[in-house]
Structures are given as C-alpha cells and as structure tokens.
Symmetry: C2
C-alpha cells in the first residue's frame, strides 16, 4: 500500500480523493490544509491536519500530492514539503519551470526525497507526446492546441470586468487549423488562427452590455489577439449550463521521413473534468514516486525521467503479456 496525503483541498484535491478510490493499491491517509481544519470536511472522512503539523506525519505518509496553485502556492510549498516527503506537484507556469525545478531539486536531494514537478496533462502528458514525437520524427513541426475547455485564468479576467456578475471562458481550437496540420501542410499559425475564445456572461442588473463586451474583447494578453465572442445569458441559464470544467486539446507532430514521406502523430484529450483528470495523472505519478524513492532515487524529476512501468500497478510480466 502506498500511503498518500493531499495538500490543499480545492477542486484538484477533491479530484485526487476521488481518484484514490479507483486505485486499491493506494491509501489516502490525510489532507493537509492551511485553512482552519475544522472548516474542511473531507468526502472520504480522512483526517484534516494543519499544514504546520505535517512534519509529525512523515512516518505515516509515503507521498504528498500537492494540490495548490502555480502562481503563489507551489513555488514555496513544493520545496518545503519536499524537505519532508516524496512529493508530486502540477506546477504549470511553463516559463518558470527551470527555476522551480532548481529549488525543488535542492530541497529534495538534501532530504533524500523524490519530487515530481509539473505533472498533469500540459505540462505532463502533452510534454510526453512532444518528447516522444520529436525524438522519433526528427524533421517536422510540433503543434499544441488547447480545448475545447474552460480556462480559469480567462474566466477570472472576465469576472473582473465591471458589470459582470458571472462569467466563464472556453478556449476552442480552430477546426481549419487542425485540418491543415493533419494534412501535412505545416502551416505557420498566428495566435488568432489557432484558437478562438468563447465567453458566456451574466451581467449585473442595469449594466451596459455593449461596454462589457467591448472591454472583454479588447483586453490585452487575454482576448485582444483572438477572435472572441461574448454571449449574455440569464443567471438561471448560466448555472444550468456552465457547471463543469471540461478541457482537452491536441498535440500533433507532422514530420517527413526518407524522400519526403509524410508522417503524422496525433494525441488528444477530451476531458469531462479537467481537475478530476489531472488528479488521476498525479496519482499515477505518486505511485512512481514511491517506487523510485524505494529504489534510492532522489531529487526533482519530471515526466521525462520516469519509465512508464513505474506508473502501472501491474507487474512487468503482466505488462509485457497484455499491454505490449
């Protein structure tokens, strides 16, 4: 039994708790929180422990799955917790990965722990598809598309617009761009040509809708470089329609071999729930972290460093006989 603790009990933490129920070789021991533990009630009934007391759980937990955010939580939390436990995080600020890796690596090596960073689907499964595809098709172009799915950052941006009561944003890949890549056209695609942004908004009573739409569409970084649609709806309709957090996307490698032979590798995800799926990836890598730690490995690692066999609950002979 691999003994797991969850740090942070939001959407992702609850997703990990649900995923644990599908992995009978793993056991959820507790949830660490920075909130008042009395205010946190876990679905499974496992104890809720103040983060400050985590150090007293080192003998009872094999891997901590860190479920905080990349902006402020993980840069501080992952190195701290990696000095006590094997950890897995889903740090996803691509530009800051090298710095995060260095900090976590130092803490984990010092403590003799394994620390997986940037586990999830992008970074994570999409990264795996990029490295496999680019290592195999050396000559070619790689394309990553996201969606259709909810972007939390863009949804937050909408909700900060004056007059917006509720809002959600879906990132949508442009079908003709996907087709051009699939056809081996190796297109040079601008930001606008790759994705559109669909916004659904409930306006405050009396708010100027035309003004809201203009403000959203012209927002730099978030929307101004995209073809953006803004659809207003009643609160009832919004609450009935936009309850889940679907996401997904595509990684494609269009390459050439020999004398101009076209070869295409495509990977895609169509996820009913982004946090529940990300949680499943974290749990599989927690299994790997426990095993690699047991073998004496230490330091920060990414999905690039993990042989697939470590992720599966099945033994090597079964894997070769049934999955190879």
């Amino acid at each position: 039994m691999t003994r797991i603790a969850i740090a942070g009990y939001g959407n992702l933490g609850r997703g990990v708790e649900k995923a644990m129920a599908q992995n009978p070789d793993m056991e959820l021991v507790c949830v660490f929180t920075r909130r008042d533990p009395a205010s946190v009630k876990t679905a499974s009934g496992v104890p809720v422990v103040p983060m400050a007391e985590a150090a007293s759980w080192t003998e009872k937990v094999d891997v901590v799955i860190l479920c905080g955010g990349s902006a402020t939580d993980l840069p501080q939390q992952t190195p701290e917790v990696a000095s006590l436990f094997n950890v897995v995080d889903s740090f996803d600020t691509h530009a800051n990965i090298p710095t995060h890796f260095a900090h976590v690596d130092e803490a984990a090596k010092k403590a003799g722990k394994v620390a997986f960073i940037s586990v999830g689907w992008d970074p994570g499964l999409f990264s795996l598809n990029r490295i496999y595809a680019e290592s195999i098709l050396r000559q070619g172009s790689t394309y990553t598309f996201w969606g259709k799915g909810v972007s939390q950052g863009h949804s937050d941006a909408i909700r900060r617009v004056p007059g917006v009561k509720k809002g959600i944003q879906y990132t949508v890949p442009v079908p003709s761009a996907l087709e051009a890549v699939r056809n081996g056209e190796n297109p040079q695609l601008t930001t606008r040509e790759k994705h559109t942004r669909e916004c659904y908004v409930v306006a405050e009573e009396g708010a100027d809708r035309a003004q809201i739409e203009e403000t959203i569409k012209n927002m730099p970084n978030y929307f101004s470089d995209y073809d953006t649609t803004v659809t207003f709806m009643t609160e009832e309709e919004f609450d009935a329609t936009h309850t889940s957090l679907p996401h997904g996307g595509f990684v494609m490698r269009s390459g050439i071999t020999g004398d101009g032979t076209k070869q295409l590798i495509e990977y895609s995800l169509n996820l009913g729930s982004n946090p529940e799926f990300t949680a499943c990836v974290l749990v599989a890598y927690a299994r790997a972290a426990a095993r690699m730690s047991a073998e004496g490995q230490t330091g920060a690692k990414t999905v690039f460093d993990v042989a697939p066999r470590y992720l599966s609950p099945l033994d090597d002979e079964t894997l070769r006989a049934h999955l190879l």
Copy 2:
C-alpha cells in the same frame, strides 16, 4: 557519436539508413547481411559485412538495429546478436513476446548488453499509450484500431491464391466504431465491427475472378471474420496506385472518473510509410540503448522500461525548458 549497425537490408533496414541521415548524433557504420555481401549495395555506401563476421565489429559498433522478420529471423537472431552487441528489434508477434523476452534477456545479461525488444509502433508507441492511459484512467476500456494501412501478412495471403498475379490488402477501421468509442459509449465490438479489409488484385490472364474473390473472402483467420471487398484492376493501374506502404491506427482509452465523468484519451498515427516510420522509432531507441548501456544497465527491455529522456538528443535542461 552513437555508432549503429543495421542487420538485414530490406524495407526496414533501408528505412533505418534513411533515418540515420536525420540524426546527426548517430553514425551508420555498416550493414550486416546473411546474403552474399557483393549482392547488397547500400544507399549510403557503408560497407556490407557478412553476418558471420559480426563478432569482429564489436569494438566499432555501439548498437545493432535488427531489421529481420518476427516469424523466423528475430527469435534466433536477437539472442545471438545480443550476446555480442547492444541491440534493438521490432519483434511484433504479440503472443510470443514473453518467450522472446526470456531468451533475449538471458543472452543480453550474460554478455552485459542492453537489448530492446518489440520496438516500433505496435508493439511500441501503441503499447506506451496503452500503459499511460490505463495507469491514469483506471476505470474504463481500451481500444486499438489499425489502419488505414497495408497488412503484409494479409497481402501475402492474397498472393498465395491461385490465379492472383499481384495483390495488396488494406486494413480499415470502421468509422462508426471509432465514433462510438469517442462518444464514450464503451461499445463491445466484434472483429467484424472494428475493421474492414479492402483487397486490390491483379488476376492472371484467364483466371476465374469470381473464384478468386470467393477464395479470398472465405479464407479462415485472414478474411472470413471480416467484411472484405475485392477489387480487380489492371497491372498498370495496380503498379501506379499501390506502391507505398502506408499504415497507422488508433489507441483510445475511454474512462470514467469521480461520479461518472467521461474522459477520453486518443492517440493516432497516420503514416505515409510504415517501414520508414518504424525505422525512426528503432533509431530513437538505439540512442536510448547506447545511453542505458553506458550507465551499466543490462538485459532485455521494452518501451515500458525506458524513461523518455533517453530517446531525445537534447539535454535535460533543454528538454525541461522547451518541451515540458
């Protein structure tokens, strides 16, 4: 520089030779053959060496890429060559993998060599997608579809039918079956519901076409369990149309998380040339074999045992900064 030798100079061996040109960190040293070396002319001009003299090349070659067939060549050849060199093969008789692994493992361990078996796309990349997807989505169903592409075994079977001058067979996935999986219907699919078989035939002059068609369609194991079409054509048309060896396929995992949330992982290949693509996979794993051997690893391995980082010519920092 990783120094590579090719054993067997057919379609796959020639594909490896072409792939080497796209991998400047690797060098093709020679081709080993069981034929008369004088009868084999390599495109790149590297020397052709009798297989029986391979032992005198152990100091000049880091990895031998075995390009023989799975039916009779590799079961004998892989253990033999693995007693002298690190090797990579594309053994693809799924049912015999455990036995092949055991033989190769014994030879490679004894010699202190690394031997990758069953490298390619199925087994190989499709296997990787099965293990990743099943390790992540623990509850669900996995589907593998092949095609559209040329099956060599089925094409050979057609060509053995009396009255057939030339023949080729394409395996084609049934579109409605793919859609049912994508929709999360978790269908139970019979052999007939998953794939159709399209045959293109040039008949000998005066041959009974109706008889040929009947014989093909009723052939047990190969065609009788499928909806099979047989299309006759002139030799000119055949030679103009059916010159390449395209292939591909799909691995899909349709799963459930949490309280019935649907999640779909899909991987697909659309390959202009099956042997050229398989060759590229073999070359990437040859890079990994050289590295893992240099680290002191020995014995038989499969794609499940290889961390993705070993496949790429890029260093770890570059990988984290640009592909993660």
